[in-house]
């Protein structure tokens, strides 16, 4: 990519970011809503020990869960809903009839949603530190690897839903359904340790649960080797969902 291409790409990203802010949904649920959850639950529980005598504190566990919520907003809502709409309205078709092609626009949309994720997590961490003296005991590398894998898994689900949804309506339904079920049952909003046994079992079937477990684990100082199961499941989701999604796209004419 030369300087001209980079300048062009950055401008496209800027426009896509502006559009995301104007669309409000991604902006609100990615940046504002998790912060509201943080303040709401923080004002109720504070950063008290999770149980008497426990080293784990409420906010130290909740914030990685909220971070996964942000990843879910970008990967499972904002990006796939944009993609489904652009596909259905043939917006990509027009972009495809230019020298840059639709890949340029899709790449910019992915970049902007990744930026939303990073911004959302950064705001959460800053607010957590400022308001509740958040303590991160894990090492940066383990947290970064876990975050990247969790983000990739969320985007993989969204990608698959755009590929299997024969229209935007079905993609919307799948994304909303999975996102909200996972939001409340994965431990992203309420720590899974507070769930009854049956719900906890059900929660193990949800991909987001494993992202939450992984993120919470590495935040409190667990090594990656202690989370082999989560790494395997999230890695498997990426492989299978991206693979099946790509196969669906090659089989179906979506020009």
């Amino acid at each position: 990519m030369n300087t001209m291409d980079m300048k062009r790409f950055l401008f496209t990203c800027k426009i896509e970011f502006v559009l995301m802010v104007r669309n409000f949904f991604g902006f609100f649920f990615g940046l504002i809503f998790p912060l509201m959850m943080l303040v709401l639950f923080g004002s109720i529980f504070g950063n008290q020990p999770f149980s008497p005598g426990s080293d784990l504190r409420m906010m130290d566990l909740s914030i990685p869960g909220y971070a996964v919520m942000v990843m879910g907003v970008a990967g499972l809502m904002s990006f796939p809903l944009t993609l489904a709409e652009c596909k259905e309205k043939k917006i990509y078709k027009r972009f495809d009839a230019t020298p840059v092609g639709k890949a340029h626009i899709i790449l910019a949309q992915i970049t902007v949603n990744l930026l939303l994720t990073v911004l959302g997590i950064a705001i959460l961490l800053a607010a957590g530190k400022l308001l509740y003296q958040l303590q991160i005991q894990g090492d940066i590398l383990s947290i970064a690897v876990s975050a990247l894998l969790s983000i990739a898994a969320m985007f993989a689900m969204g990608f698959l839903f755009t590929a299997v949804g024969k229209d935007a309506k079905l993609t919307h339904l799948l994304c909303y359904l999975f996102y909200f079920v996972m939001l409340f049952l994965s431990g992203a909003t309420v720590p899974a340790m507070l769930f009854p046994e049956q719900i906890r079992k059900l929660s193990q079937l949800l991909p987001m649960t494993h992202a939450v477990d992984l993120m919470q684990g590495v935040f409190v100082g667990n090594s990656l080797s202690m989370h082999g199961k989560e790494l395997l499941i999230l890695g498997g989701i990426c492989l299978v969902f991206y693979g099946v999604g790509a196969l669906c796209y090659t089989k179906r004419d979506w020009t």
């Binding site: 001209m4 300048k7 062009r8 401008f11 496209t12 426009i15 502006v18 559009l19 104007r22 669309n23 652009c86 309205k89 043939k90 917006i91 078709k93 027009r94 495809d96 009839a97 230019t98 020298p99 840059v100 092609g101 020009t255």
Partner: protein
């Protein structure tokens, strides 16, 4: 001698069981307007999309500037401007943002601010695309087709939704563009538009090419297909066309009134 810009030979294209394009061949030279006409579903847009490189023909070949538009899309798109039949843009994008975005796609973009004035969209530059009227959207899509200073313009239903005065202005603009050596491939349902702009015509019926030649040749060809008692008095292109195009079932008042 004028350079050949588009050369299509024996194009065939099917969608599942529908044979959309069957053995269509034509050429387009620089500084020429070729109008593709035919009833709805006759294969006009499918033919054009093969030229645009948006669809790969099942068989036959298309060359645009000597290149296959399907396999050399990006290079070809540097030289062509396209106005699609159905175009949507992101709903919340503003007119000037869309223009800036498209200008960035080309190495030597046109003066889009000047084009905004020419297309009477200057006052709408801050407006989001979703708030534009149908005619304004149409003018915007024409503006974007001109953004890359194209040597070939492909216009699919150029003046649909435009009022008569704007249509006339649009024709003037495209005559001037053609006179500058730009080749224009025009798909239209308006035969007055074809009469005003086209040098040659391609007439399609159910995916098959029935005629390719000049307007004068089309008149002769059409007259030969019409029974003498049915020949229209003024023999305008539109009246001749209406005589040869397959008849559709009209709407009856039965069950309405």
């Amino acid at each position: 001698m004028s350079q050949i810009i588009v050369q299509a030979e024996h194009l065939h294209l099917s969608y599942k069981n529908v044979r959309a394009v069957q053995d269509v061949s034509f050429s387009l030279k620089e500084g020429e307007v070729l109008a593709v006409v035919g009833a709805n579903g006759s294969g006009k847009t499918s033919t054009i999309e093969c030229v645009e490189g948006l669809r790969k023909p099942d068989s036959g070949s298309v060359q645009v500037f000597g290149q296959d538009p399907w396999s050399h899309r990006r290079e070809v798109y540097r030289k062509i401007g396209i106005q699609l039949q159905e175009t949507e843009y992101p709903a919340k994008i503003r007119v000037e943002e869309l223009c800036r975005l498209y200008a960035g796609f080309y190495e030597r973009p046109a003066d889009w601010e000047g084009l905004l004035s020419q297309m009477d969209l200057e006052e709408k530059r801050k407006r989001t695309v979703s708030k534009l009227s149908g005619g304004e959207k149409q003018r915007l899509s024409v503006l974007l087709a001109l953004m890359g200073r194209p040597r070939l313009l492909i216009l699919d239903e150029l003046t649909t939704g435009l009022d008569p005065e704007v249509r006339q202005n649009m024709w003037e603009t495209f005559r001037a563009i053609r006179d500058n050596g730009v080749a224009i491939l025009l798909v239209s349902h308006y035969l007055d538009e074809v009469e005003a702009l086209a040098d040659r015509m391609l007439y399609l019926e159910q995916g098959k090419q029935l005629f390719f030649g000049s307007q004068a040749e089309f008149r002769k060809w059409a007259k030969a297909r019409i029974a003498p008692e049915d020949l229209p008095g003024d023999c305008s292109l539109e009246k001749l066309y209406l005589q040869i195009v397959p008849k559709t079932t009209g709407i009856t008042m039965e069950g309405i009134l």
